[in-house]
Amino acid sequence: MSNEKPNLVEAPAGHAGEGFFATSLDKAVGLARANSIWPLPFATSCCGIEFMATMASHYDLGRFGAERLSFSPRQADLLMVMGTIAKKMAPVLKQVYLQMAEPRWVIAVGACASSGGIFDTYSVLQGIDRVIPVDVYVPGCPPRPEQIIDGITKIQELVKNEPLRRRNSDEYRDLLASYGIE
């Protein structure tokens, strides 16, 4: 194992020379952020059990730089909503989202979080995008761990390519305003 080459992420486009490498700040920051995401697992039901499998030895999400789960929303980058969100739970979810610091991303894992799934009932919120903005949706009921990992890599792509000014733009402010977030 020891003489195996470590697996490095690809460097962004830039100018390399003798002892220096120049790229844009956006890309350098994106690279760092994408490979050290701190997810906040907001696991409510079945998908949470598949997430446990994703975190455990067999699938090991740590390989993608998301080893450290942040159970405190204050330090988390990525809110992973896994499972049914009932209407009773919706204000809690929104509060957790509000407690997260920018930049923050949200992934809706599973049919229930994405759209309410098979539970088109009086008590279930029909998709978390009714209360908070969502970046990536993962289908499945529940999704396999591979699918959850796929969702995380999609988030990594987003994080990598996000311009630094996006969170200050008018579009983003309008998006938040449409959810009633100042």
């Binding site: 039901s45 079945c46 455990a56 969100i85 739970m89 809690v92 509060q95 009932t121 009086y122 008590s123």
Partner: protein
């Protein structure tokens, strides 16, 4: 309630902290809210609030034909979904008075015991995690993947299996499934012994779990406990023995019981049940009778998929069955199976319509979780967390 509770109150010159544990908290493994009144580290009083993932299963079941209820049962106790599926199918079979071949019953026993192992693995390894022992968790979750491989081979899904049919199975065990099962029976005991040796006699673990959240047998009965939690308190009630279903009377197995009803006893009862389940699976495999893997109930057992794709008759029947257009007898049935957490009962009232008139799930979690505030009274906060994880409260089953 959220954010609205005071941080402390003063009563008779003493200051108590009000601590809001949940609804989303890393240590609760699910969404339950507990508002605790604490004197330092000791819990004086607490109030549990649930319903944060109430999904209205019982209302849905009144609007869906029987086959469409099976996916709902998956999502009750999702750690042991096949038990719920089979329990539901057996309930309907009882209603339509179907005669089930022995082979089907033995196959069901094998799958239900595998599911029980998977359920207990999650619970026990998570007790380990909550005491700070993450290693056992990673060992056992690797083993659990092997159970899921078997489920996947049998029905195509891992967690929410939707397995089986009313009257039997969609297909017989494939050679690969048998091979996987054999490998599992060979390799799992070794892995499991490793896990047991990590925790069962571990001084640090014992210090954390012995006498944490004890319950007396009388109180357990009063609160209608069932399953491992009741047995840990010393009452030997197990549905598999009290009212054998699916040929459980053919197998030799022991019902482990505890003495103190504390976290350690609950842990050890589950440990022993895993061993007993392995023995049941071995017996069922060794004595597996020949015969069909489905019962003769053409009005409820879906026709084989190849026929559905190629034959008109089969397609029509498939459609009729799935849409609930076949005749259902009137009647009311209560059928209980021993789920991962205890007596999982289905109370089905049928008025002959295409869906159940009323379907009530007796959900063991919901019933025993109400004793939780009583159980943690006077204990430390860290013990309360352990008590919760050793009771194996599954949010899906709790809130239905």
């Amino acid at each position: 309630m959220i954010g609205g509770t005071p941080e402390y109150i003063v009563e008779e010159g003493k200051e108590y902290t009000i601590l809001n544990l949940g609804p989303t908290h890393p240590a609760t493994h699910g969404i339950f809210q507990n508002v605790l009144k604490m004197d330092g580290d000791i819990i004086i009083e607490s109030e549990a609030t649930i319903g944060y993932i109430h999904r209205a299963f019982e209302k849905i079941a009144e609007h869906r034909p029987f086959y469409q209820v099976t996916p709902l049962t998956d999502r009750l106790n999702y750690c042991s979904a096949p038990i719920n599926n089979m329990g539901w199918h057996m309930t309907v079979e009882k209603l339509i008075q179907a005669e089930i071949p022995k082979r089907v019953e033995y196959m069901r026993v094998i799958i239900m015991e595998l599911a029980r192992i998977a359920d207990h693995i999650i619970c026990n390894s998570v007790i380990g995690v909550d005491t700070g022992a993450l290693t056992g968790f990673t060992y056992l979750f690797q083993a659990r993947e092997h159970i899921y491989d078997i489920f996947e081979e049998l029905c195509g899904a891992r967690l929410t299996t939707n397995m089986g049919r009313i009257g039997g199975f969609e297909r017989d065990f494939s050679p690969r499934a048998k091979m996987l099962l054999k490998n599992f029976l060979e390799n799992f005991p070794k892995r499991f012994d490793e896990f047991s040796s990590l925790l069962e006699r571990n001084r640090i673990f014992l210090d954390r779990v012995v006498n944490a959240g004890p319950i007396t047998p009388q109180m357990a009965l009063d609160y209608s406990f069932t399953g491992p939690n009741l047995r840990a308190a010393g009452v030997d009630y197990d549905v598999r023995v009290a009212k054998p279903y699916s040929s459980y009377q053919d197998f030799q197995f022991q019902i482990p019981v505890g003495t103190n009803g504390d976290t350690y006893d609950r842990f050890m009862v589950r440990q022993e049940e895993i061993r007993q389940s392995l023995s049941i699976i071995k017996q069922a495999l060794a004595n597996m009778p020949d015969g069909k893997f489905f019962a003769d109930v053409p009005e409820f057992y879906l026709p084989p998929k190849e026929d559905v794709y190629t034959k008109m008759e089969a397609l029509i029947w498939h459609f009729k069955i799935v849409m609930g257009e076949t005749d259902v007898p009137k009647g009311e049935v209560y059928h209980a199976v021993e789920g991962g957490n205890g007596e999982l009962g289905y109370y089905l009232v049928s008025d002959g319509g295409r869906a159940a008139y009323r379907l009530h799930f007796r959900r063991p979690c919901f019933i025993y979780y109400q004793a939780y505030p009583e159980m943690i009274k006077g204990s430390m906060l860290s013990d309360a967390i352990l008590t919760m994880s050793s009771m194996n409260v599954i949010a899906g089953e709790l809130d239905a």
